[in-house]
């Protein structure tokens, strides 16, 4: 478990702020104890200080993971958010997209969100904004990046992409071995 370098911390926070904006602060500044980000094998883990201290007793070679995996750094040093971070991101999301029940499965199979599947969208969502995708019953099912702003959505044709797929909870099954 390594402390993230300043460069990587910046990349991580920039990515997180794309989804939850100012609320990134709330991830660090928590009333229920100190939480921090640690890196192991290019994966970034969100872990409480108390748990981290317990994890340090384990031989680093034998430690697979500790805390919640937020994502990983690619070989080109970009941060990629994993679906495991959804539980922490979803409550703070400032921009949301709700998909219709008929389009839920399509999204969970890794497809983009089409206009036809769009149920609801947060008012004045800009273009290329990180969003959390919800079902109509308000269950978060993944992340996406909008390809159109809310205003543009109105005029889009039914088969146009509204949000690009980033991660979905179907990955828990589809890419079980690479998630962690």
């Amino acid at each position: 478990m390594k402390v993230l370098s300043e460069d990587r911390t910046r990349i991580l926070f920039e990515k997180l702020s794309k989804y939850i904006g100012v609320n990134v602060k709330l991830l660090i500044d928590r009333p229920d104890g100190t939480y921090c980000f640690r890196e192991k094998k290019d994966r970034v883990y969100y872990i409480s200080e108390r748990l981290l201290q317990l994890a340090q007793t384990v031989n680093p070679d034998h430690l697979v993971s500790a805390g919640t995996c937020f994502g990983k750094f690619t070989k080109t040093n970009k941060f990629r958010l994993h679906i495991t971070a959804l539980t922490y991101i979803a409550p703070y999301a400032s921009y949301k997209i709700w998909v219709k029940p008929s389009a839920e499965q399509q999204f969970l199979y890794g497809h983009h969100v089409l206009k036809s599947g769009l149920g609801r969208i947060t008012e004045n969502t800009p273009k290329h904004q990180g969003v959390v995708i919800y079902t109509m019953s308000d269950i978060p099912i993944g992340f996406g990046i909008t390809s159109r702003s809310t205003a543009e959505c109105r005029h889009a044709d039914p088969l146009a992409n509204i949000a690009f797929h980033q991660a979905d909870i179907g990955e828990y099954i589809r890419s079980e071995d690479t998630l962690m």
Binding site: V22, V24, T34, C36, P126, K127, S149, A151
Partner: protein, 353 residues
Amino acid sequence: MDIVNEILEREQKKAEKYKPITVEKHLDVEFDVGTLLASDTNDLDLKVLQSDNERDKYLEALTRDNTQLLLNKVWELPTERIDEAIVVRLPVPKTLLPRSKPVPKPKPLTKWQEFAKAKGITKKKKDKAQWDEQLQKWVPLFGFKKAAAEKEKNWLIEVPQNVDPMTDMYEKKASEKSEKVAKNELQRLKNIARARKVKIPRVGLPVTADKANAAQLATAAVVAKASTASLGKFQDKLPKEKEARGKGIHELIPGKERKRKAPIPTPQQEKQNNLNLIDKILNKRPKIDMEKAVAKHIHTEQIQRSEEKKNAKPIKGKRKAKGGNVTNFTAKKPKAGKGQRNPNKKATGRKRR
């Protein structure tokens, strides 16, 4: 009788002078006659040892007894007589004596040996001589006979098509060979330096005879960039510049090896650092998003216009009263057939037939 007594007395005195050769011991003394070693495992008399005047006597007596026992053992061995002296051949010693010098360390492995060990490569025994098909004779692996055979074989060397026809192939071959020898020598010296843990100065990039490859050029660029007084900190960067990567490149770049890891911050410190960093990111002046700005501008314009329209409606009558031919200039093309026709109102736009 007097004489007998006298003799007996004398004998007794004599006997008192010499102690008996038999010694009584609680536990048997262990012997290693080969090294003339006797080890007595019996307890010492502590009381006597602590008293000052009797200690020496006691130790002397003990030593004598044990020596006596050892000599008894020696006498048990078969004796020989060499030049008037009685001699015993001692058996092979049983006791292992520790060596006086430290155990020699194993020779440090060369780089190749290390590699071979890791890969499990074992040396294959080669024959000393090989059958040469061309010469139809056995040629040794090395030595003057091998050199002579090579000379005999290579009486003519073809110049390949991709090589300048005027090159001396013999010279080329000789230079290749001498280069190989030099390389081997360098590696030998490197091995010695590594074994003695001597730091070898950097040699930099290898000088290549022909064109350097992309990796070498990239490395050279990175090294050159870092070769300033500030270790390249203030050098400009190209938009998509990549650091040269690979084995041994890191060592070539000045200032890289000195980099130390920052100490792990305390939780509070780390939290503060992170919060500062987040603030910095969030307070970044946003880039002007042209598309967004234009969309916003159009949006506000539209709202303004629609409000104007709403406000304009009640005034409509007044305007009419004025009799002016006031038209609302909107971006939209005027359309006909909307609502009731007003015969009083003059139709706007082009006259259509």
